[in-house]
Symmetry: C2
Subunit: 653 residues, 2 copies
């Protein structure tokens, strides 16, 4: 049940592209484009950027000989056409086969995919390394990467420092290396930074304007205005195929080229339009808004009210605003209180440090996986300098996402850095109070806040009045106030924590004991707190009320509340830590280590009765698009699984 037919039906591998007659190339592009447009409507994805590179990708596979010639797609979400030409067309043509391949390159899928990639800007460095190995004679003749090495990188990814580092080093390394800059005038949202004014001048001057960022970094350079003309691209690529030195081929393309009127009715239009970066399938448009957008919008609404009175309050988002509920409407109203730095988390974190140093109040928002990029700046410029910046960490913990976007290392990464706090709210109320504290007080260092995820949202919707269930993704097109009104029903959940002025330095140092029970203490960090509550109910049911667990909301994972933990250890036989990040290097291990050690004040000698500690959380592995419920089962994180484990551990089962 393929949704299109044409030359693509006979393409099994790049060799088949070589074998086509010249007159089949344009029909091939047309079929691919039509298929992608349909795919977007039915399945969704990074369709806009893929539509920009249909002709480029066909030209690459027409001119080059993959995998002898290695093509590396930066961030790799623009690789759909590449996948269609390398044996995976069915996954984009036939709804029955949708999702049989991922939206990113992956060597496990095909020998034509060089790397599994999902973070921007590294393709040039990777290409430079492959070229080096080839030039050293380490690649067998005819083997993958023994020919030309090509990196395909979008204009939006050029703001990543690593891309600029890569260009500079590539220029020095020498040898055949082709960097194709796919300039569709668009990042995830708008492009930001002086670099983009230069790209615009190059486009306007047919590549002749100075200064030229590419030649400034030492690269050779060619410009192609007609970046969606497959014949022109084939000619240009043929010309430079066997080049003996690194070159940038700067091509001008149109993001979302081919989107139609039906798409437009759903908000997706060709060209520079943010909604066209990530397209939801039309059938999903009535799906409830997820936790990132919900809690992000709540946070922005709270901050927005303060803008008139607090000149230094600045929200910083490195490009990924919309996914995190930072809507176009909010941004417009925020004016200078909102900064999109473009994709450059390193700069964004150091920039936040500068604002905080000067007395401002920076709030840096991005997902856990992208904070990995700013690890060094968070340690050095922020934490070590004791600067009161707030990091909003979205998509922390395990999820069903691609392996390159997992948030499961967030606690190992952020909770272990000295002189900063990592807070894990268990409700929208706590979340907003934590945000309020971290942005109003300067008497603390850097504070990271784990934005609540799907479990808390489901729990809050369940205990709320239920009106949240009908929310739609459409908030992007409405004002943030409306979203806030819609999500206001969440706000009754959780207990209010009065911020005691006396403990204002860190009111979250103490764990909150929500239910005082006996025998077993269930400590549920952040998103696992609803699971701890549910586990308690399961346990009572399973044991006919014989076990009434204590339930603890630790509220943060960057420090130990020794007093509370000593009390729990003295009065319980079993402590269970529940977290949805990786156990190794995570939070539970710290609890276990504290409880088992007699070397910290108040803990126990070897002959005292000590509670067991079971640390539950994510395994030490990269997981790729495994649905969250499956992961929860795999790691024993469902309430029933936890309850059964407790029963067994207490030797009741």
């Amino acid at each position: 049940m393929r949704i299109t037919s044409g030359p693509l039906d006979h393409i099994r591998c790049p060799r088949d592209v070589h074998d086509l007659n010249d007159d089949q190339i344009r029909p091939l592009c047309a079929q691919i484009r039509a298929s992608l447009v349909e795919f977007g409507k039915r399945h969704g994805g990074h369709v806009g950027s893929n539509l920009a590179v249909v002709e480029l990708t066909v030209a690459l596979h027409r001119v080059f000989d993959s995998p002898r010639d290695a093509i590396i797609f930066d961030v790799s979400h623009q690789s759909y056409t590449h996948k269609m030409l390398t044996g995976r067309a069915a996954a984009f043509l036939d709804p029955r086969h949708y999702d049989q391949v991922t939206g990113f390159t992956n060597p496990a899928e095909s020998e034509h995919d060089m790397f599994a990639l999902g973070h921007t800007g590294t393709s040039i460095s990777l290409a430079c390394g492959m070229a080096k190995a080839r030039d050293m004679g380490a690649v067998p003749d005819g083997g993958a990467g023994s020919g030309s090495i090509i990196a395909v990188i979008g204009d939006g990814a050029l703001s990543s420092g690593v891309a600029l580092e890569g260009l500079s080093d590539a220029a020095e390394q020498g040898g055949n290396l082709i960097v194709i800059v796919n300039d569709n005038e668009m990042s995830i949202a708008e492009n930001h930074g002086g670099l983009y004014r230069g790209l615009a001048r190059l486009r306007e001057s047919d590549g002749r304007a100075e200064p030229n960022i590419f030649t400034a970094l030492g690269m050779d350079y060619r410009y192609v205005e007609k970046g969606n003309d497959v014949d022109v691209l084939i000619e240009e690529l043929t010309r430079i195929r066997d080049i003996d030195h690194p070159i940038v081929l700067h091509i001008h393309t149109t993001k979302g080229l081919g989107l139609d009127e039906e798409d437009a009715r759903h908000g997706v239009v060709p060209g520079r339009h943010e909604f066209n970066h990530w397209q939801n399938p039309f059938c999903d448009e009535d799906a409830p808004v997820g936790s990132r957008k919900t809690y992000g919008a709540l946070a922005m609404a709270q901050l927005e009210r303060r803008f008139p009175d607090e000149p230094g309050l600045v929200v910083i988002s490195p490009a990924t605003a919309r996914s995190n509920g930072i809507t176009p409407g909010f941004r417009a109203r925020a004016g200078a209180h909102y900064v999109d730095t473009a994709i450059c988390e390193d700069h964004a974190a150091a920039y936040a440090a500068g604002i905080a140093k000067a007395g401002g109040t920076p709030v840096l928002a991005t997902s856990a996986t992208f904070f990995q990029r700013a690890y060094d700046q968070i340690i050095e410029e922020l934490a070590l300098n004791g600067l009161p910046a707030t990091l909003l960490v979205f998509a922390a913990g395990i999820s069903g996402t691609d392996h390159t976007h997992s948030g499961s290392l967030d606690t190992a990464m952020l909770a272990t850095i000295p002189a900063m706090s990592y807070l894990a709210p268990s409700s929208s109320t706590d979340f907003l109070e934590m945000l309020d504290w971290s942005t109003r007080s300067r008497a603390h260092g850097t504070v990271a806040i784990r934005v609540p995820g799907e479990r808390i949202l489901a729990y809050e919707r369940g205990v709320g009045d239920g009106t949240g269930a009908g929310e739609t993704d459409a908030e992007d097109r409405r004002g943030v106030d409306e979203v806030t009104m819609e999500t206001a029903s969440l706000r009754g959940a959780g207990d209010s924590i009065p911020v005691d002025e006396a403990t204002r330095e860190n009111p979250y140092g103490r764990y909150r004991i929500d239910r005082q029970g006996s025998q077993v203490a269930l400590m549920g960090l952040g998103d696992m707190y609803p699971v701890a509550l549910e586990t308690a109910r399961s346990l009572e049911r399973l044991t006919g009320g014989a076990v009434r667990p204590t339930v603890v909301d630790p509220r943060q994972c960057s420090g130990i509340d020794a007093g509370t933990l000593d009390g729990l250890a003295a009065t319980h036989r079993l402590v269970v830590t529940l977290e949805d990040g990786q156990v190794d290097g995570g939070w539970g291990e710290r609890i276990a280590s504290y409880v088992t050690s007699m070397d910290r004040p108040g803990s126990h000698g070897p002959h005292d009765a000590q509670p067991q500690v079971i640390c539950l959380g994510a395994g030490k592995e990269f997981t790729n698009r495994i649905p969250l419920p499956d992961l929860e089962r795999r790691y024993g994180l469902t309430p029933d699984a936890v309850a059964r484990r407790v029963v067994k551990a207490l030797s009741l089962g």
Copy 2:
């Protein structure tokens, strides 16, 4: 007992520089330069870069009004003159006061120091953030940073991606922001990358050549050839002091200007010369070579022997080669087998991934603190892609260094990443065998190796024939083979581990039990292994032989050897983990969590006797230039302290 006299004697704060007559400015510069040269000879430090910016710094404090005008020194090791002009001259003039201030800026020392910095490239982002807060009206009039914001950055730091990100965003942010590029034609070692060809063209053309990397990123630009002429600098700075938009002032300076013949006899000469980046005091030249250079040179010697037969074997160093024993002689002989990427760890790690993908064998060498920069690329491009690259992690764990260069987060950072190994050799023999395994086999993912530190070196020198004691830093000027001969005496230390072909995938998965004892198991990771051995002796002595500890060399910290640990747990009352990295998020917690949990195969129910676990290691804090022995005492990591704790825990004391 000041070593010079002149106008500096009367400078207590920048206001005093303003009050000088014009004819005192050049004598002031001369006195500062003479003082720095003497300081270098007697104390050592980053003297070369400081000599380049004497006039610039005087001009800055003459023209601007610090701290109202905020000056941010990138990486900040060129801030000696700044310190001399802001009340801290004695620390550079009077040997009795040497070391009373650090070699980096630090707000704890002075209101004129904006940040504590030690990693390159972030000054522009920090300045951009301060300018933003000022422009938003968040800085009180007359307060620090309410006037001009100035970043001073060396040419060597421009290769850092974050610096280029900062330039691009600064250009967009607008407002007064002055970026002074101090171009002394020199990084830590040579400059590398196409970017530097552009800087050379700008120098040769008096700033007129295109392309211009600064204008390409959107910045305004001025060039000053006479970067060591204080009058010219004062004139230029006055001209742009109140500029209303961001500008780069590119000044050409001479690194090491003023070094004299005595310096030259000790190998330090003005201009582009690597030895002039970091100067040892002359009195230290006979001091023994430290662990980084010793083990680095051993590693390089082992790899060098293989270059003729292994074309894809490539050593990569992001600029910091010499500190890690990668001598100029080695580099010259290695040819294309050695790559200095310039200071850009992000690119270097992705570049290594490219080499490994293409079948080559990359060895990426830098210190733990700088690997922080590559955290995301190590996770995404290397580990997730399962690529067999080797990371040589120098200066891991605690040390007496500046807080910005601490290696104490190394285990929390690297041992928690899925699908990679972090090996911790306890001897030179193990180190070289691990390096051999990681670089010869491809049947493993990314392997990081913790290069042995001072404790292992002292231990090996102690058990060797003692000839090592007379080694000098002079190895940099000799061939690596000679160093290898000198350090060959170390190689008898430690047991040889025959690499069993059957376990080649990871022969280091099993802990090594070196001494089978009872009651207490001492597990010493890497550099703490000699401490475990010494603790065992102390314990026997303290208990009159009643306690004979088991001593375990875990050899790696990225996985648990469940079989061995189960055996230890079943037969010992106490397990002590010793590591010299941070306990929080580190290795010992994982051991504690394993032992206390009954949920892993082979472990124990709550009613079984369970051993206590004491996790010893570094506290969760940033420590600044606290001597290593003091830190060891603070954390109870000396053999005697550990022994006393064990005695107490076993209730023997």
